[in-house]
């Protein structure tokens, strides 16, 4: 009985040690990001080259009211009274948003992409329903934010935020309104001081731009987006960084600039990217006419290939002729010895998996219900940008360069896929089993490789000391698609080369946009 008691006690003790001691709560990697405290305010960023705006003053912003007016003083008092007895929830939102407006809205966008990155379930007759932008909450929810859709969404939001911030910096310098804590030294400031003029508020600009862009890109999620925007603006007042008129002017400017990007987006041919049955049939017929084996959907029921006309979408970094010129030559002929060897290579990788290769496949898979490969590169970039203490406008510029590269990479990649319309490894050898989900579109060239080549190129320019690591990551991301048994070597090798070429256009832009 004594022994029994002892063993029971031991069991309970082990139970307690193993589990009660360790908390289950998990912090996200950017949850505890310190408040943004830029090493350089980039005061002259109003002169940087915008992407769509004709100039930083294209949209007029009225001069701010003087800081000695009763109205301004009332706004100072709004801050002061809001700071009385701050709740822990209020402290938390101040901390969250002070990490950076571009960072947080990029994360929110990644969240929306992950939420919506789910292919629709088939209809009873074996066809697939298309999400509808005009009825986004009906099944299938709009959008299906697959990688090309996501790449374009990241690019538009980032580019609009950059242009809006260039305009904001122009007006900041022009009007030179001091921050509320410089006007009233008794004000409690919960974020780092800055010498940057506070009107219009960069946070208002970023939130206003995001809200407006997301009405177009994620029209069914406005309640979530509006709640984030309201929280963001509140955080800036609670922190003492901005008075209400700073934020309202920024928000108005952000919306105006965003509307210009919305107009561009409505005419960039993405609306026709899904294609139709006739276009799908034609791709198949043309491929057979060339004497090649066309891609066949391996889903049941057969699903239309993803966004077959996306290659025609208007790029940001180059015109459509340049986009076509970036298209690589054809993949190895199906009957060639090279293709036989490449099929065998993937078969062997599929047959002989290792735990480390699975790790690499899954690390880079970024498949269903994730923020996609462009989102993964945004995450990599964001975590590095945090360490750089960029100003908001430089954050926006760097994110815009990265995301325009990723979008344009997706355009060239999709154009290539539907030019050659070639098969996946498991189509040519059904014994090939995959270590990740098989993408439902042609193989050549690998999207992951093209995205990663482009991202590594521009990020290596922005943070040169990390260039070697970015290239190593891109190589691994590319290789992961062979390890996953869903791509041939040619898809990956050529994809990386094409991606790097796309990235070089972003580098050229970066060298001449006035920020370096």
């Amino acid at each position: 009985m004594k022994k029994t008691f002892f063993l029971t006690a031991l069991l309970i003790a082990l139970f307690v040690i193993l589990f009660i001691g360790c908390s289950k709560d998990i912090a996200g990697r950017t949850d505890n990001t310190p408040a943004l405290n830029p090493v350089n305010t980039d005061l002259n960023a109003g002169t940087w080259k915008p992407i769509l705006l004709t100039g930083p003053a294209e949209f007029a912003i009225a001069a701010p009211i003087a800081t000695n007016t009763p109205e301004y003083i009332a706004q100072i008092n709004e801050i002061k009274s809001s700071q009385v007895d701050l709740t822990s929830e209020e402290m938390a939102i101040v901390k969250y948003w002070s990490a950076g407006a571009i960072l947080r809205w990029n994360e929110i966008l990644r969240e929306l992409v992950a939420k919506h990155n789910i292919p629709p379930y088939q209809n009873a007759d074996g066809t697939y329903p298309l999400p509808s932008a005009t009825n986004p909450l009906a099944y299938p929810l709009f959008p299906f934010s697959n990688p090309p859709y996501a790449a374009r969404a990241y690019a538009y939001v980032s580019a609009a935020q950059y242009d809006a911030l260039v305009a904001a910096w122009h007006y900041k310098k022009l009007y030179n309104r001091a921050a509320p804590y410089k006007v009233d030294a008794t004000l409690n400031l919960l974020v780092p001081q800055s010498d940057l003029p506070s009107y219009p508020s960069e946070d208002g600009v970023v939130a206003g731009t995001a809200v407006e862009m997301l009405k177009l890109l994620f029209p069914g999620d406005q309640d979530f987006v509006q709640q984030k925007a309201a929280e963001h603006k509140r955080a800036r007042i609670l922190s003492g960084a901005n008075v209400r008129s700073d934020i309202e002017a920024g928000e108005a400017l952000g919306k105006l600039v965003a509307q210009k990007f919305v107009t561009r987006a409505r005419g960039d041919r993405a609306g026709a990217a899904a294609g139709n049955q006739a276009a799908w049939d034609k791709l198949e017929k043309d491929c057979i006419a060339r004497g090649e084996t066309p891609w066949i959907s391996q889903e049941l029921p057969k699903r239309p290939p993803m966004l077959l006309a996306y290659g025609k979408v208007k790029a940001f970094l180059f015109d459509s002729l340049t986009a076509v010129s970036l298209r690589p030559g054809p993949p190895p002929l199906v009957g060639s010895q090279q293709m036989k060897d490449e099929i065998e290579e993937i078969y062997q990788l599929s047959k002989n998996v290792t735990r480390e290769r699975i790790r690499i496949v899954h690390f880079w898979a970024d498949g269903v219900a994730t923020y996609t490969p462009p989102g993964h590169w945004d995450a990599i970039a964001a975590e590095d940008f945090i360490t750089k203490n960029f100003s908001e406008v430089r954050w926006a510029r760097n994110m815009a360069l990265l995301n325009m590269s990723l979008m344009d990479a997706s355009i060239v990649c999709w154009d290539t896929k539907y030019t050659y319309f070639n098969a996946r490894p498991s189509q040519l050898n059904p014994a090939i089993k995959t270590i990740t989900g098989l993408p439902n579109f042609p193989a050549y060239i690998s999207g992951h490789s093209t995205f990663s080549g482009a991202a590594a190129a521009i990020l290596g320019h922005i943070i040169p000391e990390r260039a070697a690591q970015y290239n190593a990551m891109a190589d691994e991301a590319s290789l992961s698609r062979m390890y996953g048994a869903i791509h041939f070597k040619s898809d990956c090798v050529v994809g990386l080369v094409v991606g790097k070429k796309v990235g070089s256009y972003a580098i050229e832009r970066a060298k001449t946009d006035g920020a370096e």
Binding site: K3, T4, R29, I118, L300, D366, G367, G437, L438
Partner: protein, 313 residues
């Protein structure tokens, strides 16, 4: 975009449903060690996506084969330790996804019978069972429905009551399972929100088990109802992939037979059983068949006469 291949499985049911386990009211006598191989085959074609029952042509039928070793040692007739060590192999009959295989989790239990008393012309006994399980290999958890397990370390506490009169018996138990966080190969995942981490919070679980039938020296024949509930977790959204921290519930009904083939001191017995899932959430509607052979090693000195309690086998 990746092809959609959904559904779920989870490795709970095969371990839970085998006989001579932590969930039955059978104790090994002192210094007796019962050990044997087990095999189970579980498969499903339909599964619950949230509460919606569906199939998936891109995955066909998912099967899970488990071979393992189970053992039960009597420290005393009131205190036993048990272990199980499974090797698991999964396969899908349609689609391109490759099945997985590997050594899964080692489970250890301590089973204690503090109360055994005569009551209403029969015997009533109470049990307390404490368990741990932990993965023995770095297998992939985040590849449902073809993962071989969930990688979560668990600790469980069970209260079990048994009543036997003549050959008729009834056993009921309730278990709380603590499940530790797991780490997956990717750096971010979406549940009902985006998580920028490779660590996944696993909801705890509760299990209820009820079994009744006949039990004597040679034979056990019992009907078993089992109900597993994840306390938290989220539903698979429409046409989405399953995820380790989904809310996974399953109710199974089954039958279980144990027959002592050689009723000698070092007895040999065999177990056969099957169960089917009658209700579930974010799991496969699986049918499971299993069998095992057990051999008892008696470490008592041969000269000493054996005086085993009636319920010992």
């Amino acid at each position: 975009m990746t092809k959609i291949l959904l559904a779920l499985l989870i490795m709970l049911s095969p371990v839970i449903s085998s006989a001579q386990t932590d969930m039955d009211a059978i104790m090994m006598g002192k210094k007796r060690f019962c050990i044997g191989p087990m095999y189970s085959y579980s498969s499903w074609k339909d599964y619950w996506e949230g509460s919606l029952k569906r199939d998936n042509e891109n995955i066909g039928t998912v099967s899970t084969e488990m071979t393992g070793l189970m053992g039960n040692y009597g420290i005393s007739s009131k205190l036993n330790v048990l272990f199980s060590l499974p090797y698991v192999k999964t396969k899908a009959t349609a689609g391109t996804l490759k099945g997985m295989k590997g050594v899964q989790d080692l489970s250890l239990f301590i089973k204690w019978m503090p109360v055994e008393t005569e009551m209403l012309g029969g015997f009533f006994s109470l049990y307390g069972v404490g368990g741990f399980s932990f993965p023995l290999s770095n297998y992939v958890a985040d590849f449902l429905p073809l993962s071989i397990g969930l990688q979560s370390r668990t600790a469980s506490a069970r209260l079990m009551a048994d009543y036997q009169t003549g050959s008729f018996f009834v056993t009921a138990s309730a278990t709380y399972v603590l499940r530790d966080n797991i780490r997956i190969d990717r750096t971010a995942y979406y549940t009902t929100a985006l998580h920028l981490t490779n660590e996944v919070k696993m909801p705890d679980g509760a299990n209820f088990n009820f079994r009744t039938g006949i039990r004597n020296e040679r034979l056990i024949a019992e009907a078993v109802v089992n109900n597993w509930n994840t306390l938290g977790g989220f539903d698979i959204t429409r046409n989405n992939m399953p995820f380790p921290s989904n809310r996974m519930n399953a109710t199974t009904i089954g039958a279980n037979f144990k027959y002592v083939i050689l009723p000698v001191r070092n007895e040999v017995s065999m177990v056969l059983g099957a169960n089917t899932t009658v209700a579930g959430r974010n799991m496969g509607k699986s049918n499971t068949y299993y069998g095992s052979v057990f051999y008892v090693l008696d470490f008592n000195r041969k000269t000493k006469s054996q005086d085993q309690p009636s319920k010992t086998n």
